[in-house]
């Protein structure tokens, strides 16, 4: 530990600064290490991939080279089809996810607040949360056709129930003592809701978003695999029909990368929202 101020007495402040400096340096080194391992794991996958092809462990005719996948990526990017597919997928997820979350927050509060609503909804929730969203796809296609409506309904459903469960659990698990403290300071119902309940629930709502987004994304691809003209799933079906292996593998990789990126975005927001909580690693 070194002080950045030379000479003179080590005041409380300068020693504290020094501690913060060391702490930051350690953090930075850890971050660099993490990035290093991240790259290393990707390189490992690439090596296994190419060695597998070279040694004919996997059939090189069925499994494209990494370079071929990259070429497919560049080509699709250039002719605009990739962006069109991704756009279609994003819009569906965004609409379905948003509708589901908003619905879950509202119903979550009603359940937490009114006993009657809880008693009525509880068994329904238990049933529907056990029902995988993909199971609804055939039914929805018959009801609403293969257009956007059926997909968005399935996605809304997919994001709604996991979020509802998280929010509801959080709501009934709230510490009553903070509400009590606020009441003795004179908080009215609205202030209780806005200043006591919402701040405690906020981290849980973000967790709910994270869970829902994951489920939504998985369901989206399934829905697109079955019936869609545009979307990453549709792109893969098309590639499959024409036996184009590079775009097919590209689709798989894209889905993985996009879920990863979305999850890290939500996690970053989550970290900020829960900065005040004690139990964080």
């Amino acid at each position: 530990m070194e002080s950045d101020k030379e000479g003179g007495l080590m005041t409380d402040h300068s020693s504290r600064d020094a501690v913060i400096q060391t702490f930051k340096a350690v953090k930075k080194r850890q971050q660099i290490e993490k990035i290093g391992y991240f790259i290393a794991s990707f390189v490992l996958v690439l090596v296994v991939w190419e060695v597998g092809r070279a040694t004919h462990l996997v059939n090189p005719k069925l499994f494209p080279s990494f370079a071929a996948v990259c070429r497919a990526f560049v080509q699709f990017l250039k002719d605009g089809t990739l962006l069109a597919h991704m756009y279609a997928s994003f819009v569906r997820v965004l609409i379905g996810f948003s509708l589901g979350i908003v619905g879950a927050v509202i119903l979550g509060f009603l359940i937490g607040w009114f006993r009657v609503v809880r008693l009525i909804v509880d068994p329904l929730v238990s049933f529907f949360r056990a029902l995988p969203p993909i199971a609804l796809i055939p039914l929805m296609i018959i009801f609403f056709g293969i257009g956007e409506t059926s997909k968005i309904i399935v996605l809304t459903y997919a994001s709604f129930f996991p979020a509802l469960v998280v929010i509801y659990q959080a709501l009934i698990g709230l510490e009553p003592i903070y509400g009590r403290a606020a009441q003795t300071l004179g908080a009215n119902n609205w202030e209780m809701f806005r200043k006591i309940i919402l701040p405690q629930l906020y981290p849980h709502i973000i967790t709910a978003c994270r869970v829902s987004l994951g489920v939504c994304w998985a369901t989206l691809v399934a829905a697109e695999l079955i019936a869609a003209q545009k979307g990453i799933g549709a792109m893969m079906v098309e590639a499959q029909n024409f036996f184009q292996m590079a775009p097919l593998v590209l689709g798989v990789l894209l889905i993985g990368v996009i879920s990863l990126v979305m999850d890290s975005i939500v996690r970053a927001i989550e970290r900020r929202a829960t900065a005040w909580q004690e139990k964080r690693t």
């Binding site: 009441q183 003795t184 300071l185 009215n188």
Partner: protein
């Protein structure tokens, strides 16, 4: 209309897995406005339970508690509470915690006044350098001081304090005791103060209530006839030492009984 706090035949039973538990039985006490009542007694004798009845968190099964003639039916801003478990809001910084009550519609306070009041009480509890800290960054004693500042800030008519100085070191505790008496000199308040410290109870109170357990009840009410304002030096006077020893004796008896 009768002023002050009147506790009349208050009994509380808890329903537990192993049956009903009589936490309080027939508690009677009349507290004049401006009085300082300390409650001492062995752990588990129902001190917090009684405070919860006065705060309005708990309905008594028998009898009732009234403030200025009105039955206590729920919590209210005229009765400030310092909780045994602090209960400061972990999602707010120290300043935001202390300012919380002042920003509520019930205590409509002008913006510049809020800063002034918050600064004043943060300085009083010695946390002016931790304004922007979150509770998780504070020690137990510091959290407790935030809770005290938060309760003082809204200037309630009645202060209900549950072992408020329990987590403080001896020097800070002494200072907080004197500060509390200073505040009461300026603004007349009724205080109900739970503590395990007999010396603390003797120093602060107009009367000390000693409770007995199983069932929780009042064993003895001991008046402290030492004039205010009191300074720390009073603790070594013969009068003080005598009353303190007397209370100690009763408390020890109750403690022994509970162990048997």
């Amino acid at each position: 209309m009768e002023q002050g706090i009147i506790i009349e035949g208050v009994g509380v039973t808890y329903q537990t897995a192993s049956g009903t538990f009589e936490a309080l039985k027939d508690v009677n006490l009349k507290i004049e406005p401006g009085e300082f009542i300390s409650i001492v007694g062995p752990s588990g004798c129902g001190k917090t339970t009684l405070l919860n009845v006065l705060a309005g968190f708990l309905k008594s099964n028998t009898g009732q508690a009234c403030l200025d003639g009105k039955p206590i039916n729920g919590p209210g801003p005229e009765r400030g509470v310092v909780f045994q478990q602090y209960a400061i809001f972990p999602w707010l910084t120290v300043v935001e915690n202390v300012a919380f009550g002042l920003k509520l519609a019930a205590n409509k306070t002008a913006h510049d006044r809020i800063d002034e009041i918050v600064d004043h009480f943060l300085e009083l509890v010695g946390l002016q350098d931790f304004k922007k800290s979150y509770p998780k960054e504070l020690s137990g004693g510091m959290k407790q001081r935030v809770a005290i500042a938060r309760a003082y800030a809204v200037n309630p008519q009645v202060l209900l304090m549950d072992e408020p100085f329990g987590a403080l070191d001896a020097q800070t505790r002494q200072f907080m005791q004197e500060s509390l008496l200073d505040i009461l000199e300026e603004e007349k308040k009724t205080v109900v103060f739970i503590t395990h410290g007999v010396e603390e109870a003797t120093f602060l109170s107009t009367r000390v209530v000693v409770m007995a357990s199983k069932p929780g009840r009042i064993r003895e009410v001991i008046p402290i006839d030492i004039p205010y304002p009191r300074k720390a030096s009073v603790k070594t006077t013969p009068d003080f030492v005598k009353i303190r020893a007397e209370i100690d004796k009763v408390v020890r008896e109750e403690f022994q009984k509970q162990r048997q």
